[in-house]
């Protein structure tokens, strides 16, 4: 089936390549595409259409149209006309019910014509309602093209490379190549990208050629991603030259989708690139000189060409292609039939301006040439060659006058939309191109309108009697060509934050979970309550390196903090610690933590584990607004931190410090901050009691994390995880911001009315606090104990007269308290100590009683010990 050697053929006849197609052996040569090999071996039907399952054959042969979509090595929707041949590839047709030649669903085409007018689905299958899921199931199975291989658990390799170029030329046609070469004479940094096969391995002096590779679009800041197979190049260029050329446009006539109706360039590729004789008798319907040349090339290839029509000079009102079993058998031109097995037809070329439009160029209609051209390019862009409209023109693509019943002239081959569908949409009132597009789905198929946008606009203009310029185009939406999710995704990395002690937890067999951006130990064993008990009875240690840690230093550090927090700090002595809550301007609780004064002008602030970045940004923002002389330094990662807690904490610590007197009761009181060397590691030690027992938070240089941890464990401290910590803090009724509060919670209703110092001149959120104090209270956060030994879900509803009346935010069983305890938001009138209320648990309600204060060690004697 191959012709003799062609001067510029891409195939290497010495190298046969074998693959399988539809279960049979198939073959071609190195340099072939799967499509060209199949065509050369006589295959003509390549796919079945989306809706009517009509047989379809090669049309554009350039990777745009939907006609050659197949499944290759279980990847669906591969355009085989541009897919390089691979030894052993498994190629299968898709969207066929039966075989390519006999598709059972082709009946939709026969009887479907009248049954599936545009908008059909909107008008049917409405009643009875219970039938819809069934109907839908059928519909879903009919839709879709290829099939995703569910067993494929991919993780193929995809890479991303960030590139810079002085000049990036998109499109390797004549003008693109010339531009690239010219740019290269002025220096390095010139890159040329082309999606075709022709330039593969091509050498242009001083130019880096990427082919086949596709510029997918022009995004933010001139970013041009280029799909080069397994690598996505993200180009930023000083100058972008768009030379994407023009696209041949199909003619619209009855039978225009028959197998054997092709665009001239496609035919040319078969002959030139792959040395294939495309047919035995061809009719050529040309609208430009290029297409006329194809007639000559066909003759040279030994194809009889009984009829060539130049549509510019010999306009044909009606063209019709007749077929047998879906394949062209004759062309009927103004009533006269010409037998043939190939109809080469085009309406001319339309500039492919999409990239430019995305970059911000305006697009205008030029009535004299029947094309849309880009106008007013944004700065930094240049357009060259056919994309500017140079050498482009189209004749009116509609050649279906004198329509007969049963005519099917496809405007959009991807979506199986005919001229009748568009006419009908307009008649129904879908009388703007955008509405009509959505109703008919024209331009929404795999080629994204490359082959149908122009025709649909012109059809639309003709039917509604307005000009093409008024109709306008629909928005150009990236990407330029479909791109694999995997390539966009790039390498499979999701960076997690880990404390410098993290691997010790893994080694100890802890269950690791996400906590905000961190990976943290949930618990070390199956029984978190054992870890709780260890803290209460002896000694525990938890890695709290994830706490946000911020140094605030400078002559005005005090002023800054006084204004950021509702609390007071001016009266704090160096070496003391205070609990603080940050609220938004709206008085909403944002974060909490401790603030230690290390010196007159130096504070050490801790935040929640998820809050470090947000709080740092918040501080910096306000500091910039107010212009204080204070520096804010986020030292979260610089420091590891552990909380050593339990009745034995002092004793253990005293064995690790140089002078045990440093940690004696009066030397290191509750809420003191102190610098201490522990096991040879300089620490900032904070005596605080989040978990309710005597405790020391040690903050120290991250690299010493494992060392200090090991020493503490060796001293008998039990590692405890997040879950036991939650129980411990709940026993103290300490809240967790973001769990017990939500984005609307304020200080007063969260039970912290003691905290804001309203006598201060100003602080962020002061107005809101004052306002809340004045208005009627809506809800309040209180502690409760359950009447039965059941743990309500966090989020369980408080039921008042059968309706949601509040919610539980935390609940745990506490061995130490001997009850199930929790925190809940309740209406203010139900917040008295001891008030009974009901919580929904599973399908019933269970009684609970409000309990004020801490559940455990209410006086705080243990943590102050």
């Amino acid at each position: 089936m191959r012709l003799g050697p062609q001067p510029r053929e891409l195939i290497d006849r010495s190298q046969r390549v074998l693959f399988t197609f539809d279960g049979r052996a198939a073959g071609g040569y190195t340099g072939d595409t799967i499509g060209s090999a199949l065509y050369a071996s006589g295959q003509r039907v390549f796919s079945r259409s989306f809706k009517y399952h009509r047989p379809r054959g090669l049309l554009c042969c350039s990777g745009h149209c939907p006609n050659c979509l197949m499944t290759v090595d279980s990847v669906p929707n591969v355009r085989v006309c541009v897919e390089p041949i691979r030894a052993g590839a498994v190629v299968e047709p898709q969207n066929v019910w039966g075989s390519l030649d006999r598709d059972a669903l082709a009946v939709t085409d026969k009887i479907g014509g009248p049954f599936t007018p545009v908008g059909f689905y909107y008008r049917t299958m409405i009643r009875p309602r219970f039938m819809w899921p069934l109907y839908e199931k059928v519909l879903r199975n009919l839709a879709g093209l290829g099939k995703v291989d569910e067993r494929h658990h991919g993780h193929s390799r995809y890479d991303v490379e960030h590139r810079r170029a002085r000049v990036l030329v998109v499109g390797g046609g004549q003008s693109g190549r010339a531009a690239a070469l010219a740019a290269a004479t002025r220096g390095p940094g010139v890159v040329l990208v082309d999606e075709g096969m022709r330039l593969r391995g091509a050498e242009l002096e001083g130019v880096e050629v990427l082919a086949p590779a596709r510029a997918l679009g022009i995004w933010e800041g001139g970013l041009v991603p280029v799909d080069a197979g397994g690598v996505l190049y993200r180009f930023r260029a000083e100058r972008i030259v768009v030379a994407t050329g023009a696209l041949e446009q199909p003619l619209v006539f009855p039978g225009n989708d028959l197998v054997g109706v092709m665009l001239p360039d496609g035919v040319r590729r078969l002959i030139r690139d792959f040395a294939i004789r495309p047919a035995s008798r061809a009719v050529v319907l040309a609208s430009d000189d290029d297409a006329l040349e194809v007639a000559d090339e066909l003759r040279e290839a030994g194809v009889a060409v009984p009829r060539v029509v130049d549509l510019r000079t010999a306009p044909l009102g009606r063209i019709e292609a007749k077929g047998r079993r879906g394949r062209v058998s004759a062309a009927v031109l103004d009533g006269r039939a010409v037998e043939c097995d190939l109809v080469v037809a085009s309406a001319g070329r339309q500039p492919s301006y999409s990239l430019l439009a995305q970059a911000g160029a305006r697009v205008e209609y030029e009535p004299s040439r029947g094309i849309f051209v880009p106008a007013e390019l944004p700065a930094g862009f240049e357009a060259l060659g056919a994309v500017t409209g140079e050498g482009c023109a189209t004749v009116h693509p509609l050649r279906s006058s004198g329509a007969r019943n049963g005519d099917k002239s496809f405007v959009c081959v991807c979506e199986d939309v005919t001229t009748k569908d568009v006419d009908r949409a307009i008649a129904e009132g879908f009388d703007s191109i955008e509405l009509s597009k959505r109703y008919t789905t024209v331009t929404m198929g795999p080629c994204q309108g490359k082959l149908c946008q122009l025709a649909s606009i012109r059809l639309y203009a003709r039917t509604t009697g307005v000009s093409e310029a008024t109709v306008g185009t629909t928005t150009a939406r990236p990407p330029w060509a479909p791109v694999e999710l995997g390539l966009l995704a790039g390498p499979h990395h999701e960076p997690a934050r880990r404390s410098s002690i993290h691997f010790r937890h893994e080694e100890a067999g802890a269950t690791i979970q996400w906590a905000g951006p961190w990976k943290r130990p949930y618990a070390y064993g199956e029984h978190p309550e054992d870890e709780v008990r260890a803290v209460h009875e002896s000694l525990g240690v938890i890695d709290v390196s994830t706490l946000g840690k911020i140094l605030v230093e400078g002559p005005q550090a005090v002023e800054l903090l006084e204004r950021l927090y509702p609390n007071r700090f001016g009266d704090m002595k160096p070496g003391r610690i205070r609990y603080g809550v940050i609220t938004s301007d709206g008085g909403r609780i944002m974060d909490d933590g401790t603030i230690a004064r290390l010196a007159d002008d130096l504070f050490y602030v801790t935040t929640t584990s998820t809050g470090a970045d947000a709080v740092t940004a918040w501080f910096e923002w306000w500091n910039a607004v107010w212009g204080y002389d204070a520096e804010i330094v986020n030292v979260t990662g610089a420091l590891a931190a552990v909380n050593l807690a339990g009745p034995r904490a002092r004793e253990a610590l005293s064995r690790l410090v140089d002078d045990p007197d440093d940690v004696a009761g009066d030397a290191f009181r509750y809420l003191d901050a102190k610098e201490l060397d522990v096991a040879g590691v300089p620490c900032l030690a904070l005596r605080i009691g989040f978990v309710g027992e005597l405790g020391y938070e040690l903050h120290f240089a991250s690299p010493a994390g494992e060392h200090l941890w090991d020493r503490l464990v060796a001293e008998g401290a039990w590692p405890f995880g997040l879950e036991p910590q939650r129980v411990l803090r709940l026993e103290k009724a300490h809240i967790i911001v973001g769990q017990d509060t939500d984005s609307e919670s304020n200080l007063l209703s969260a039970g912290m009315s003691w905290l804001p110092k309203l006598e201060k001149d100003d602080f962020v959120g002061k107005l809101a606090v004052e306002h809340v104090a004045r208005r009627e209270e809506v809800e309040r956060l209180v502690g409760f104990t359950m009447e039965e030994d059941v743990v309500p879900a966090e989020g369980a509803q408080v039921v008042i007269e059968g309706r949601p009346g509040g919610r539980v935010t935390s609940a745990r069983r506490s061995e130490a308290v001997g009850a199930v305890i929790g925190l809940a938001w309740l209406p203010p009138e139900r917040c008295e100590d001891g008030t009974r209320f009901e919580i929904r648990v599973d399908r019933r309600t269970v009684g609970a009683r409000v309990r004020h204060g801490a559940f455990y060690d209410a006086s705080g004697a243990r943590m102050r010990a």
Partner: protein, 165 residues
């Protein structure tokens, strides 16, 4: 007045500190070297007043922010810089550092312009400080808590390049 000793790994007892990358880089090829634990200071204030000493490198991110890389004891460098009236913090423990070789490897990991370094920006999906040494040699500093994953991403990118033709 505190000297913020607790920020300084160099003040910790001999043998008590370890690099955040040592697990990830165990057996790594030589294009990748671990620079963590080499001294670096975060600077705040009038950076113009800081004088870089022998073997030190001053990186300005803005007129009031920068880093000072020092081969000496960073704790002492902090005292020296503070004496010059600029606030300094030992960030040696905050950063994981990597020495890398190869422009293409870098391009697989960052979109920073490699001719305009040092600069701060994304590297392997985290924020980083990237510096260029002679030829195609680079240094990358990322938050230590993300270092492990970044190092794995670097090794993966290297593997990708070896696969590439």
């Amino acid at each position: 007045m505190t000297e913020l000793r607790f920020l300084s790994p160099s003040q910790c007892a001999e043998g008590s500190t370890a690099s955040p990358l040592r697990r990830a880089l165990d057996g790594a090829p030589e294009q990748v070297r671990d620079l963590s634990l080499q001294g670096v200071l975060e600077l705040r204030g009038d950076i113009a007043r800081v004088e870089a000493g022998e073997g030190e490198e001053l990186v300005r991110l803005s007129p009031r922010r920068g880093f000072l890389f020092t081969p000496g004891d960073p704790f002492e460098a902090v005292a020296r810089v503070r004496a010059a009236g600029v606030l300094a913090y030992d960030s040696t423990g905050a950063l994981a550092g990597l020495a890398l070789e190869g422009e293409q490897l870098m391009r697989r990991l960052t979109d920073l312009e490699l001719t305009k370094l040092p600069a701060a920006g994304p590297f392997a999906r985290v924020s980083a400080l990237v510096l260029r040494d002679e030829g195609e040699r680079f240094r990358v500093y990322v938050p230590q808590e993300l270092g492990h994953d970044v190092a794995l991403a670097v090794l993966d990118a290297l593997a990708g390049l070896e696969l590439a033709p």
